[in-house]
């Protein structure tokens, strides 16, 4: 089973104070720590598990700046066979549609049974690249997958629905699946893995290696253009309590009593 895994390098913003840059359209990423996107980490793990069971190859692919090589090295260290970085200044500002076009173009001659990618990116959260890519490749897809069982010429997958419900769907191969967190337990990178990764192929492709023009990628080739970024308005007026832990506890207890829950 030959599997291509699309991963993304994202800034860890969970506890970071985000600043909008002077242009007002982008988050300043200087000083932030970058890593593999969380759902993509489950996708690469699932690909490695499928290869362990069914043989074949795992290729990790990303669209990003030079620094994004780090996430590809991580995938190689975990066990991927090869990696492809799609990098070009012209790709900057690409939305989900433009990213899907870039990946489609890089994959046009590739042989694959499955394409896996994370269900959502923690930064822009479009939840769209995988399903767009499937349509561009002319293959079926299933999104938000939390279980995969390989059958003859098909996969039987569980898709996560709302409220804990799941649906079971058969999807004919080749196919694109977008992977949810919790489907497996992602492995850590070992020292041995890092050493082995050094000798694995990491190919870099730019716009001139693709069957696309500048108008197809970046902002020019995107459907949506961000015009303004700002802090979201609060839905509730929050009262921030400060002081030592004991003082805060005292005030919270008062608030609970005032509301009749204590």
């Amino acid at each position: 089973m030959d599997i291509i895994v699309c991963v993304k390098q994202v800034p860890d913003t969970a506890e970071a104070e985000l600043r909008i840059d002077e242009g007002g359209r982008r988050v300043e990423t200087g000083g932030l720590v970058f890593d593999i996107n969380e759902t993509d980490n489950y996708a690469i793990e699932e690909a490695l598990l499928l290869r362990e069971r069914h043989g074949g190859t795992v290729t990790a692919l990303t669209v990003g700046p030079d620094g994004a090589q780090a996430v590809l090295r991580k995938c190689l260290a975990k066990g991927a066979d090869r990696a492809i970085l799609l990098r070009d200044e012209a790709f900057e500002g690409s939305d989900a549609f433009a990213i899907a076009k870039i990946i489609r173009s890089a994959m046009k001659d590739a042989r694959f049974d499955l394409v896996l990618t994370g269900a959502t990116a923690s930064d822009d959260g479009h939840m769209a690249v995988g399903v767009m890519l499937a349509e561009m490749l002319g293959v079926p897809h299933a999104s938000m997958v939390n279980r995969i069982e390989v059958r003859a010429g098909a996969v039987r997958v569980n898709r996560e629905l709302e409220g804990g419900l799941e649906e079971v769907v058969d999807v004919r191969l080749p196919a694109v699946l977008t992977i949810q967190t919790g489907i497996n337990e992602p492995r850590y990178v070992s020292i041995m893995g890092i050493r082995r990764a050094r000798s694995k192929p990491l190919e870099v492709l730019g716009l001139d290696g693709l069957d696309l023009s500048e108008g197809d990628v970046g902002e020019a080739g995107s459907w949506i253009k961000v015009t303004r970024m700002y802090a979201p308005p609060a839905e509730k007026e929050v009262v921030i309590l400060s002081g030592s832990p004991d003082e805060v506890a005292e005030r919270l207890a008062e608030a609970l009593r005032a509301r009749g829950v204590l």
Binding site: A14, A142, L161, G163
Partner: protein, 328 residues
């Protein structure tokens, strides 16, 4: 006549809330655009649904076909793309749900029609659609313009818009022949799998003490259990805690877990991504404890503590136990 399409979402004999939320927002937008509000209903034996939707839309397009009984993105895409090509709606609204997420991106590519996903705001400015969406787990809002004049598709975040009372619109129900031919072989719906019944039903709990990624390790959960016990409440959690196997799925609050409505909800070490917020925003009083003062959860809270949960939680547990003791 300009049209605005709203794709009705239904599952197992019920129209889902997102449909009415979209129809409410759709009515406002259709007014601004001077467009006809059209509900699109794909299903099998769904006359009952059509009657309900007719109270919410000026027109209901119905395609009835056995192959549309359960949601199948492949079948839905074929039918919906034919309808959009024929009627040319200026805007098509689809839920940003597990259903819409499986359908809209492929539909948009097939039609070459710009798509914006997970929208929490939509408006027309000089005939141009501007949408608002969130990024970085709800820490940033982005306004964005959609290219192209021929028509756009937007997926709408559940609970972003409130559903108002419908109608009476007395919309016209129009049956359309199904364009589907043959079996949908590439993708087949097999069955639904119910969540395993658990030992608690958080939906019934009056007090919930929920914990997120900030707890760091399963061995720290006793802190949260201690506080829940002091408050006579149940322990809940956000998704990462279940993904790591620290608590069972039945305790997960959020769109893919439980929707809860307790009198008191404590969010401890939970950043407040919308998937979690959707499950708890109807709670009475909300208290958030988080070391990140920019955590989105504070925007949904009545009281917030910016601090270290490992110090605040034990202090609060002790305080409550003292008060309980004194009240005996």
């Amino acid at each position: 006549m300009k049209r605005l399409f709203v794709l009705a979402e239904h599952r197992r004999g019920e129209i889902r809330d997102i449909t009415f939320e979209m129809l409410t927002k759709g009515r406002e937008l259709a007014g601004e655009m001077k467009a006809e509000l059209t509900a699109v209903l794909l299903g099998s034996g769904s006359e009952g649904f059509a009657k309900i939707l007719a109270e919410w839309a000026e027109r209901v397009l119905v395609v009835d076909d056995d192959r549309l009984a359960n949601f199948n993105a492949e079948a839905y895409q074929r039918v919906l793309s034919a309808l959009i090509r024929e009627h040319g709606p200026a805007l098509t609204l689809i839920g940003h749900t597990s259903f819409g997420v499986d359908l809209a991106p492929a539909l948009a590519v097939e039609l070459g029609m710009p798509l914006a996903t997970d929208c929490v705001g939509l408006r027309y400015e000089d005939g141009q659609l501007t949408i608002t969406r969130q990024m970085h787990g709800g820490k940033v809002n982005a306004d964005a313009a959609l290219r192209g004049a021929a028509g756009c598709i937007a997926t709408i975040r559940p609970a972003a818009f409130e559903a108002e009372e419908g109608g009476p619109m007395g919309g016209e129900v129009v049956e359309v022949g199904s364009p589907l031919e043959g079996d949908i072989e590439v993708k087949r719906f097999i069955e639904y799998v119910e969540p395993a019944p658990g030992e608690v039903d958080l939906g019934e709990a009056e007090i919930i003490v929920s914990v997120g990624r900030g707890i760091g390790d399963a061995k720290n959960l006793s802190l949260i259990e201690g506080l829940a016990e002091a408050l006579r409440g149940e322990v809940g959690c956000s998704r990462p805690v279940v993904d790591r196997g620290w608590l069972p799925k039945e305790r997960q609050v959020g769109s893919s877990g439980k929707t809860v409505k307790p009198k008191l909800y404590l969010a401890i070490g939970i950043s407040g991504a919308f998937q979690h917020v959707m499950g708890m925003k109807a709670s009475g009083a909300v208290i958030a404890i988080n070391k990140d003062q920019r955590a989105p959860i504070f925007g949904y809270s009545d009281y917030g503590v910016v601090g270290d949960l490992f110090k605040v939680v034990p202090a609060l547990t002790k305080k409550i136990n003292e008060l309980r003791g004194a009240g005996k």
